[in-house]
């Protein structure tokens, strides 16, 4: 090949190379063009809202722009629009809107979901005014403890600020002023000004409203935690929680549908067991639809229609476990709740009833030490034990649960009750009943042989006997 011929070959190859680079640029352009397809659809009245709020509240606008709502063209106005009869409606830039988007607003697109939610305990979470919890929060501790504590999870009625003559206060733009003690509030049972109950943003945080977030336990953990209902802590110590935390990358949390066994199988979350779909049942927003016991009162009871509810839960369990495995769990779960009821809850409840019948306690809650002791026994320790069993958290069942129940019952509650009821026959009769129960006979004392066995264990294991 002559030098000139080589030059021609170089020129031809160079053109081919440049052509190939153009194809590379085209391929890269195609990859970049994927982004605009996900751009928000800002339509109708929402266009004006978005233009302004993208400047004024860019974070909110950005959160919404990345949402499924944005992709589908559900904008600001679709959720915040108000009608004449809405008490909190006000004119803003020529449109009648309301600050708070309620389940009634969501219902226009998500009717089935709102119906399910209406049937749930979540929707009635703010109805706790008559409870001892409310007495503690609002009165014993102080109203603002309830405002910033209880109400932020349970929700509260949303109210306006009113003038001295009972009129709704309005700001200089005519916007009705909401009582700061009742708004902001994303408590799940919030009672809204339009009469609806609930706050969808409790789980689907505004303004992204992701299902991914609601599928994760952290969302539930805002409220389902702490000394009286530590579900998130129990979940975290359970094998379920460990599987979730260690395999979160395989949870397919972004999936459009999220059917256990089809879209994911690495681990369950709160949502998986209580709400999400399985191949045999659809998703539900009634969080109690698969719960068979109530573990919240002094004495636990099975709920109305508990059998179909349990079967629904078992169906979820059976996606990952063999039926025998699930049945065996429910046998020990039921037995454990019965044990708590029979051994501690019913006797303690009988003691408190006897003390009240004998007029040894005032009608005012929490003005006597034993009322605090009793409250802690069932409301904190008793729930921890029961919930620990229900969600397979061994440490919460035992050390944070039954151990503390027993310690309280034997070393605080009964001694306090015996001191108050001493000399009152009706109360002492209850104590006698308790002493005679086989579960409490251990207090009669153990044999020297049993004690020697314990001592020998410690001597062998630690070289010393705890005394």
């Amino acid at each position: 090949m002559t030098l000139d011929e080589k030059r021609w070959v170089v020129a031809a190859l160079s053109f081919m190379f440049l052509g190939a680079l153009l194809i590379v640029a085209w391929v890269e352009g195609g990859r970049q063009r994927v982004q605009p397809e996900a751009a928000p659809v800002v339509a109708g009245e929402s266009a004006r809202c978005y233009d302004c709020h993208a400047e004024q509240t860019p974070v909110i606008a950005t959160q919404w722009a990345g949402s499924e709502h944005a992709r589908l063209g559900v904008g600001c106005f679709e959720c915040h629009r108000a009608i004449e009869s809405d008490a909190d409606g006000f004119l803003h830039e020529g449109q009648l809107i309301a600050t708070i988007a309620t389940p009634k607003d969501c219902q226009s697109c998500h009717a089935d979901i709102v119906d399910e939610f209406d049937r749930s305990h979540h929707s009635r979470a703010a109805e706790f005014v008559g409870s001892l919890d409310n007495v503690l929060g609002e009165i014993v501790e102080g109203r603002l403890a309830a405002v910033n504590g209880c109400w932020q999870c349970h929700g509260s009625p949303v109210r306006f600020l009113e003038t001295a003559d009972g009129e709704v206060q309005r700001d200089s733009d005519g916007k009705p002023m909401l009582d700061p003690q009742t708004w902001p509030n994303t408590g799940i049972g919030r009672i809204n000004l339009d009469g609806s109950q609930g706050s969808c943003s409790a789980c689907h945080s505004r303004h992204a409203f992701t299902t991914k977030m609601a599928r994760q336990p952290e969302v539930c953990g805002k409220c389902h935690m702490g000394p009286d209902h530590p579900q998130i802590e129990i979940f975290e110590e359970s094998k379920h929680g460990i599987a979730f935390r260690t395999q979160i990358d395989e949870m397919n949390l972004d999936a459009e549908t999220w059917v256990l066994g089809e879209d994911y199988s690495a681990a369950p979350t709160c949502s998986t067991c209580h709400m999400s779909a399985t191949p045999n049942q659809p998703i539900t927003h009634d969080v109690g639809a698969r719960i068979s016991w109530t573990l919240r009162p002094v004495v636990s009871t099975k709920l109305e229609n508990w059998e179909p509810k349990r079967n629904a839960m078992k169906d979820t369990c059976n996606q990952c476990h063999a039926p025998d495995f699930v049945d065996a769990f429910y046998v020990t779960f039921d037995d454990s709740i019965e044990m708590y009821n029979e051994k501690f809850a019913i006797p303690a409840q009988n003691v408190m009833a006897a003390l009240r019948e004998a007029d040894l306690l005032t009608p005012t809650p929490f003005d006597e030490e034993i009322e605090w002791t009793f409250f802690r026994l069932w409301h904190h320790e008793g729930r921890r034990a029961r919930m620990g069993v229900s969600m397979q958290g061994p440490d919460y069942t035992q050390w944070h649960g039954f151990f503390e129940v027993a310690e309280n019952f034997y070393t605080h509650f009964l001694p306090q009750a015996e001191e108050i009821g001493e000399g009152t026959a009706s109360v002492e009769a209850v104590f006698e009943e308790i002493r005679a129960m086989p579960e409490h006979l251990w207090r009669e004392g153990m044999s020297p042989e049993q004690r020697a066995e314990i001592d020998a264990f410690y001597q062998e294991r630690y070289g010393a006997v705890p005394r």
């Binding site: 030098l3 080589k6 030059r7 170089v10 190859l13 160079s14 190379f17 590379v24 970049q32």
Partner: protein
């Protein structure tokens, strides 16, 4: 004190050329002479130019490798994710990674072909034995580049490939245990191993390869390219007919190869872009896994023999390859017409091919 004069600067030279020539006093004429030796006519055919091809591809690897290092994170917890991000998010990341991957395959293929050509044409014989040895070392470093490169991706092949390599190292008698721990950075393959592989891939090996390559090219230039031997010297054409100038003729051939490679690599990157397999999972030994094609023969050999025997035999074969010019010299001292090297080479190629094809066809 007197200063020696710099290179001659002609009156026509521009002012910047004069300035440069006085600051960098290189004898351009001598340089031109040194770099423009006539090369034999057979180099007009590209298949005789395979020695330059890996050097060109090494340049491609250096550039694309530096770009990849901008985003790559050498940590067991982040490596795979950083490669994933490079491949799916970073603009042109997929292209750079694909070029790097394909260039590595082509570079290894070109080095192997070059070694075979040199071997079968006897170009390693005196006085070029040392250059052959540098070439064998270059082949070893190139294979090392390939191994450490695909290990950095931290997919299942990476993790289990390193695990096999570390086990092989353990099997080396006496020092194997220490070497294995040094490679792993502890008792098990993990972040420490990845850091070591990263340093080897982007630091140690490029330095080593650059030095070996410089020595290799220098020796080629000092000895000149091997010419064909003719049965009788009087039948050989004179030098002018046997050779042609390096510049611009041979340089233009290298340019053709370079641009052709650029075109081929771009097409391969677009049509078969580098993908990402499953992430490394120490808890899950894959049922079906194979190394890259250039290690198929070692993998099959491992399956056929014991670990220690495989390590020792592969090491011994490598050592024989390294010192082959001296073995060949001994053979030819007994029989000057000996073609033993051709037979040995042919057997070696057939054995390697059989092992490679056997492994390629095996399902696991």
């Amino acid at each position: 004190m007197t200063m020696t004069a710099g290179p001659a600067v002609t009156p026509e030279s521009s002012s910047w050329a004069t300035w440069l020539a006085s600051r960098v006093p290189i004898d351009l004429e001598a340089l031109r002479h040194f770099s423009n030796e006539p090369v034999p006519n057979h180099l007009k055919y590209w298949w005789w130019c395979l020695g330059g091809t890996p050097a060109l591809l090494f340049g491609v690897q250096a550039v694309t490798g530096i770009l990849l290092t901008v985003y790559y994170i050498p940590d067991a917890g982040s490596a795979y994710e950083s490669v994933d991000r490079l491949t799916t998010v970073i603009p042109f990341g997929w292209f750079i990674r694909s070029i790097h991957r394909w260039a590595s395959h082509l570079m290894i293929a070109a080095v192997i072909l070059h070694v075979m050509r040199v071997f079968f044409t006897g170009a390693y014989r005196a006085p070029r034995e040392l250059n052959w040895m540098l070439g064998v070392l270059l082949l070893a470093v190139t294979l090392g580049f390939g191994f450490t490169g695909y290990s950095l991706v931290w997919e299942q092949l990476s993790y289990w490939g390193v695990t096999v390599a570390a086990n092989l190292t353990d099997a080396v008698p006496v020092v194997g245990g220490v070497m294995g721990r040094m490679l792993r950075g502890g008792e098990s393959v993990g972040s420490n191993t990845l850091t070591r592989l990263f340093i080897l891939h982007i630091g140690v090996m490029p330095t080593l390869l650059t030095l070996l390559l410089a020595g290799h090219i220098l020796l080629i230039r000092l000895h000149g390219v091997t010419e064909f031997e003719f049965e009788s010297p009087d039948k050989a054409p004179d030098e002018a007919a046997r050779t042609y100038p390096f510049f611009p003729h041979h340089a233009m051939t290298e340019v053709i190869i370079g641009v052709g490679l650029a075109f081929a690599l771009t097409c391969l990157a677009v049509i078969f872009p580098a993908e990402l397999a499953e992430k490394a999972n120490p808890l899950e030994t894959p049922a079906h896994i194979k190394p890259e094609w250039y290690f198929f023969w070692t993998f099959r050999w491992l399956k056929l023999t014991s670990l220690t025997f495989a390590v020792l035999s592969i090491g011994f074969a490598g050592f024989l390859a390294l010192i082959w010019p001296y073995i060949d010299e001994r053979l030819r001292r007994r029989n000057t017409a000996s073609e033993a090297s051709v037979y040995v080479g042919a057997v070696a190629v057939v054995v390697l091919l059989v092992l490679t094809i056997w492994e390629a066809m095996a399902s696991s």
